[in-house]
Assembly symmetry: C2
Homo-oligomer: 342 residues x 2
């Protein structure tokens, strides 16, 4: 046991004894996100949804490239300094991330966890850095409103009506570099790998309800595995449960006897847009938690406002085919514990 660097705690949690650090982070978002309450935290706000490209898909890819380059620039690194890139997006065959990995030319492991991808990426990246399998790992996730709408729902030109439970896919990307550095201000201490949980929700316009049970499952398991309680965290963030999903999560946690205090729990999907923008039940997309992490959560850990934060991104595991075939929408959630370094 003496040479153990990673320890499995309970059923689903990893304890990173070597404490991988956040070396840098960056975010790039669309104009609507850029007008929102987190405006000052984003590194770059695109002028429009096309980001000087000829298609929304190309726009999404350049957005991810820009976020990755900015994260590297802040860390004074070149692509050759990064051991591995771990990331994903919502588009079929994670094409955004694959094409970004092509232009960065960094050894690449593609991930898909729907909107849980940023946490999956941080969890695996931490694991690799913790165990000397990567010196520096670039972790990233992105989504784009216009590409997601036309792939999962309707082309924007339809002007389709949205239901009250619908969430608005964030146009945004977050990128973090994990590793070791003399001036780091945050470290990753635990990671809890989620199980796929299904409460038989079939409404593709109510992703919050589909994901909340998985969020409750991972959160409860994290506390069970680590022996921690909600009180041990200054803040707990879910990814993009939105208004309905986050209320369901609070109710489910109360049932399990692990009450989340209202002032110590927030959902990234309720932070990024202005109320006046009327996005119905909130924001979604894997770029939501990824960009909020970089623009809002990590800066507050950096300043020490929060000493210990649980970041739990949630994903709805569906495809248009599975929904058209009548499948229910299971969810998954992965969590990482982020702690301030004095």
């Amino acid at each position: 046991m003496k040479d153990m660097k990673c320890e499995i705690i309970g059923r689903q949690t990893l304890h990173f004894l070597n404490q991988p650090e956040i070396v840098s982070c960056a975010s790039v978002v669309g104009p609507k996100e850029g007008r929102g309450p987190l405006s000052s935290g984003f590194d770059f706000i695109m002028e429009d949804a096309l980001n000087n490209q000829s298609s929304y898909e190309a726009s999404e890819q350049t957005m991810m490239e820009q976020a990755c380059h900015r994260a590297m620039k802040k860390a004074e690194m070149q692509p050759d300094d990064i051991s591995v890139m771990l990331g994903g997006d919502l588009l079929n065959q994670i094409i955004t991330t694959s094409l970004t990995a092509r232009s960065l030319s960094i050894p690449f492991l593609g991930l898909y966890g729907a909107c849980s991808t940023m946490a999956e990426s941080l969890l695996l990246g931490s694991c690799l850095v913790n165990c000397d399998a990567a010196k520096f790992a670039l972790c990233t996730a992105a989504s784009h409103y216009c590409t997601a709408e036309r792939q999962f729902r309707y082309p924007l030109e339809y002007g389709n009506q949205r239901t009250p439970a619908a969430q608005w896919t964030v146009t945004g990307c977050g990128a973090c570099i994990l590793g070791k550095s003399s001036n780091s201000w945050a470290k990753v201490t635990y990671g809890t790998i989620g199980k796929v949980v299904d409460y038989q929700v079939t409404d593709v316009n109510n992703m919050g309800a589909a994901m909340a049970p998985a969020a409750a499952d991972t959160l409860f398991q994290h506390f069970k595995d680590t022996g921690r309680t909600p009180k041990d965290y200054d803040m707990i963030f879910s990814g993009d449960l939105g208004m309905i999903g986050s209320q369901l999560l609070m109710a489910l946690m109360q049932e399990k006897g692990m009450t989340l205090e209202k002032d110590k729990y927030q959902d990234c999907g309720l932070l990024i847009f202005n109320k006046a923008d009327d996005v119905h039940a909130g924001a979604s997309g894997c770029g939501c938690s990824a960009s909020v992490l970089s623009a809002y959560i990590l800066p507050k850990i950096r300043t020490g406002t929060w000493k210990r934060v649980l970041f739990m991104a949630t994903g709805a595991l569906m495809s248009t085919t599975s929904s058209q075939q009548g499948e229910s929408i299971p969810g998954i959630a992965h969590a990482v514990s982020l702690e301030h370094i004095e």
Copy 2:
């Protein structure tokens, strides 16, 4: 350095000093694959493409469930004994694997590497087991001819003509459990993480040509990083380059001064179907290398026929949208070194 278990060698290779072992493996394939030369190696051959389900998508999912259950049964394990499941497939949002993870209820990390997924899964699984982040890891990848055709090309009912360069997607799934066991017969010693390489191939009916440059890149890098040469391996396997891609790989390696001997290099895509089945340039799909690994490669390592094998699965990173938008098709290849345990 004393407590180091994983070592980064050169730019892209990991040396697993703790030597994760293959505890068990299993494969399930469709009837066409079951009639082929590897027939006796498969654990279960489906009676027809539907596998007693009402859709091809449900068939693919049950195929993966069956392969995972068989791998667990051989290892005398239950889902609760497995720390983590790592896998993926070709369908949008890797829905096959996500729904399989739902029914197995094992902590799940979704991957997407197109047809390189089995090697990506083994590489990450080995890393986790090597570093005590997983006691046992279930690594899997699947594809299904009927679901892939209708998603990437045309519904089967069209009876569409195939070009000579086209490859036939394997209906098959392979599953491996990695860990430590007193009676293991194979171990994973090195893993080389691929970069995304693009030679500007745009023909979606010639995946072999699109993937060969990435295969050559990873293979050359593996030799450079480890100091090994092709002569150090009893056999080198590429995933599904097919007839055109494997000839291109041999030509590219010759150019790089690392000649692959014809009797020591094989492509999984040229092994699984009978010649009489006329699959044109060979087999493809991430189920191809995954099922050939389990049914043909690992059994020969088990008996000691081959002491050291390099397993390199290759993926073409495209989506129907990217191709329709005129994007070229970049490739990726990951490699793991598998060695016989006396």
